[in-house]
Point group: C2
Chain length 122, copies 2
Amino acid sequence: MESKAAVASLSALGHEGRLTIFRLLVKAGPAGVAAGEIARRLDSLPNTLSANLNVLSHAGLIVSRREGRSILYSADFAAMSALLGFLMEDCCDGAPEICAPLGDIVAKAADCGPACQPARPS
Amino acid sequence: MESKAAVASLSALGHEGRLTIFRLLVKAGPAGVAAGEIARRLDSLPNTLSANLNVLSHAGLIVSRREGRSILYSADFAAMSALLGFLMEDCCDGAPEICAPLGDIVAKAADCGPACQPARPS
DNA sequence: TCCATATTTCCAATATGATGGAAATATGGA
DNA sequence: TCCATATTTCCATCATATTGGAAATATGGA
């Protein structure tokens, strides 16, 4: 992951509303949640929500797909893992026995397995 | 970790200069780096650097200690792990087999072991 | 005490981001 | 075609963050 992308992701998440949205989507998993449903749950105006989803989307943290009249948003778990990995990169210059394995695990999670991939149209 | 603290941390890191500083400190490990040395390495103005260190510090991501004329800054690895853990929390609602262990590991790393603790005056 | 080094604080200018109202677009059903 | 639902786009206002210069503070050594 490049530094610019990491900054975009982190600054996207460094906002109370957007962090809440993202965590809701992380919790919801690959199935995703419709924009309207998010707005209802978080009690936010549609335009504000749309703007925030747009920021998260441009940062690569979430993806969207249309389903009927709704647009379903879901967290991009690979991007999330890449971000965590980026933060752990070169932790303690690789030396200490704790930081290194943590980095490994985060890196491994980059392909989060079928369970964490957004449902494909197949 | 509370949501407010996470937002503060993430927005602190969502800035190119501060992310670079933080990663430099993460790489440097518990020994820390003097403010002046950071300024030299990153070629930043002293006041700008000071402001950025202040933001990171208020977010709890770094700690400082004076040593002679210099002030040494180092990453707070426990805070960093707490942040990663917060992001993983309730991932996929705990169900899928990949996300859950990732959360565990990050949580465990919260006490990053003696190797990753800032040097104490002892 | 006086000076050099190291870092922070103060301040003003500028830039960037957030918010909410209203209108516009897109989809599916009658 | 017409209407209701779902979501986005446009726009202006307001708030917040960033920057750089200059001065202030703190430490250690001569």
